[in-house]
């Protein structure tokens, strides 16, 4: 079905299920309970999960398949955001043309940067992309202030032309991004007992794009093109002595992943119509590298998991503070309670980076294949308990 093998179709269905049911899955704890702070099912965070998921899926097409490690992919995300906001300023508040333009502009921009950077490979390629991204950041931050808004970022204003839409609403406010009238911030809340689930229009739009991106990524992974990209990672010498020109292959992969980043940037601007230069900074480029490696570079679902995990840490783990810790360890004797809290203190709140760093180290050392490899190991453990099952798996045709 859909031109996919059984295994891939199952993976796609899992992703569809997870994204569509995310408001339930991410809100497992009832409102007002002590654990409610671990609920991640609010629109803002859910949007970030899927948008960074798209970003990481695209990055993985370049890094996971060809092994070319780009340290400048945030530049394409930033360019996508600026393009989308300009569409909101000039054209209308409809998100569709904004997102389309983000993808096109990011694609053209990555064609230019990729064409130059791909003249080198290995560490030199990484440094070139990093240099380009930092140049883009510098341009956006100061030189190109009339286009990018400089330090304050690019924002909508009441006197924007918006030739196909209203410059301002009837009440004199700036209109909000919408898809043919459906506002991105529109939410429907469902209360079930003590639980409160939020269904947000913007989230579902982004989730649809994630599913589409994921489906495309599967097709690319299973195509002859995807096989060539893996061949480039494996042995470039054999590649050229087999009559294949690796340059256009890597450039195509670079542009595709740049367009994914542009899509993520466009969606980001659609959820919250402003764009700032900090989105292009090298730390943002590094983040997507972490997401991909944490989840499992070269695997299909890994980058999505990695993106989810990092965003969860950033937004949820960072909110745990000492008061909450004291609450948890109140059952301990006073001195011990303070001691335990003091030990854990550096790893929570603003120290979430420290915890993430530890998790990242553990994953890289013990699970070089990322979280996906961890999942496979657990699955293999279960399979060993059922040798019958394993046998029937092994006899399946290995395609």
């Amino acid at each position: 079905m859909l031109g996919l093998e059984k295994k891939d179709l199952r993976l796609l269905l899992i992703v569809i299920g997870l994204t569509m049911l995310a408001p339930f899955i991410l809100n497992p704890f009832p409102e007002g309970s002590e654990m409610a702070q671990f609920n991640a099912g609010y629109p803002d965070l859910m949007q970030r999960f899927v948008i960074f998921g798209i970003f990481a899926i695209g990055f993985n097409i370049l890094f996971g398949l060809t092994g070319y490690l780009s340290f400048g992919h945030a530049a394409f995300l930033g360019v996508g955001s600026y393009a989308a906001v300009w569409m909101f300023k000039l054209l209308s508040m409809n998100v569709l043309p904004a997102i389309i333009l983000s993808v096109i502009i990011a694609g053209l921009f990555s064609l230019l940067i990729g064409f130059i950077s791909l003249r080198r490979s290995g560490i030199y390629f990484s440094i070139l992309t990093l240099a380009f991204a930092q140049m883009s950041f510098a341009l956006a931050y100061s030189v190109l202030t009339p286009i990018t808004g400089g330090e304050t970022g690019l924002q909508l204003a009441l006197d924007d032309p918006r030739i196909f839409g209203a410059a301002q609403t009837a009440t004199g406010n700036i209109p909000v991004p919408a898809l043919f009238g459906l506002e991105m911030r529109a939410s429907y809340e469902l209360a079930l007992g003590n639980w409160l689930f939020t269904f947000n229009a913007g989230y579902y739009l982004a989730a649809l794009f994630l599913i589409l991106s994921f489906y495309l990524a599967i097709r690319i992974f299973r195509s002859p093109f995807g096989m060539m990209l893996r061949a480039i990672k494996s042995n470039q010498t054999r590649m050229s002595y087999t009559g294949l020109n690796s340059r256009p292959y890597t450039l195509a992969a670079f542009v595709i992943s740049g367009m994914y980043a542009g899509l993520a940037g466009g969606l980001m601007a659609s959820m919250d119509p402003l764009a700032g230069a900090e989105r292009m900074q090298w730390t943002a480029s590094g983040e997507v590298v972490l997401m991909t490696i944490l989840g499992g570079a070269g695997t299909l679902i890994g980058p999505v998991l990695g993106a989810g995990m990092i965003k969860y840490f950033e937004n949820i783990f960072s909110k745990i503070n000492d008061t909450i810790l004291h609450g948890w360890f109140a059952f301990l004797p006073d001195g011990l309670e303070n001691f335990v809290v003091a030990i854990i203190h550096p790893f929570i709140g603003k120290g979430w980076h420290l915890t993430l760093g530890l998790v990242f180290m553990l994953v890289v050392i013990f699970l070089p294949g990322g979280l996906v490899q961890g999942g496979q190991k657990i699955a293999a453990m279960f399979r060993r308990k059922q040798p019958e099952d394993a046998k029937s798996k092994a006899t399946e045709p290995a395609e």
């Binding site: 195509s223 002859p224 054999r238 009559g243």
Partner: protein, 252 residues
């Protein structure tokens, strides 16, 4: 007029004359060996033929076209395949994928953006890959990761990857280097089979005289970057100049 005509090739590396006025003519449908003591310029010559090195002067014509200035992948597309001293294969890919890639390269050229089509739908390519794998007796290993193969199997796989492209000229760089006696015999037999069944022109660079004399129909001897003699194996065996070149090396 041979399929490969090398005329007056010169190549200097700094003060070293790696190749001096080398001529070589490989006739179609023969096995041509290039031998010589260490440092004779054999590998330099090979690298010129595949486009890795550009000579200072001279001409290399293949099948009526000049190969000079072309990139390795372009030269491969003209019909020259190369087997390396240590097998160059796609180690992270499966054996089956390893042979599918040259099939795609032959059908689609140096680049084609087939990003949405599925590999599993390419029945012709799969059939070709299956055929060549059964020809080299590796069909039962098709799902193995190529890097996990034994050295001998890696060599066979590399050979299969070259053969599936149906090259007009197969260049072999010391195909038996570092092999045990039995493996060497197997490789000789495999090459003989290829020669007889497919009629592919071969140029072999080799150290092992046993291999050379069991395969070659013509032999070019290089010494210190210069072509010494070119003749049939029988005449080369007793040739005084050749003895001198090899014995001279042995005495140093």
């Amino acid at each position: 007029m041979g399929i490969l005509e090398v005329k007056g090739i010169n190549k200097r590396f700094g003060g070293l004359q790696a190749l001096g006025d080398v001529n070589l003519s490989v006739a179609e449908n023969t096995t041509h060996a290039i031998i010589g003591p260490n440092g004779a310029g054999k590998s330099t010559l090979l690298n010129v033929l595949v486009g890795k090195l550009i000579p200072d002067s001279g001409s290399v014509m293949f099948d009526g076209q000049s190969v000079l200035g072309r990139k390795p992948h372009e030269i491969n597309q003209m019909g020259i395949s190369r087997v390396f001293q240590t097998p160059e294969i796609f180690g992270d890919l499966s054996v089956f994928e390893n042979v599918m890639i040259p099939c795609f390269a032959k059908r689609d050229g140096a680049f084609r953006m087939h990003a949405i089509e599925s590999i599993f739908a390419e029945k012709d390519i799969q059939q070709q890959a299956d055929e060549i794998l059964s020809d080299v007796n590796m069909l039962e290993k098709k799902d193995m990761t190529a890097s996990s193969l034994s050295r001998g199997d890696k060599r066979r796989l590399e050979m299969a990857m070259c053969l599936v492209q149906d090259p007009k000229l197969l260049l072999l760089d010391e195909p038996t280097a570092g092999m045990a006696r039995a493996d060497t015999e197997n490789t000789i037999n495999l090459l003989k089979e290829i020669r007889e069944q497919r009629g592919i022109t071969m140029a072999i660079i080799e150290h092992d005289m046993n291999v050379v004399f069991s395969l070659a129909e013509r032999i070019t001897v290089l010494a210190q970057g210069m072509p010494l003699v070119e003749d049939t194996p029988d005449n080369i065996k007793g040739h005084p100049k050749v003895r001198e070149a090899y014995l001279g090396e042995a005495q140093v």
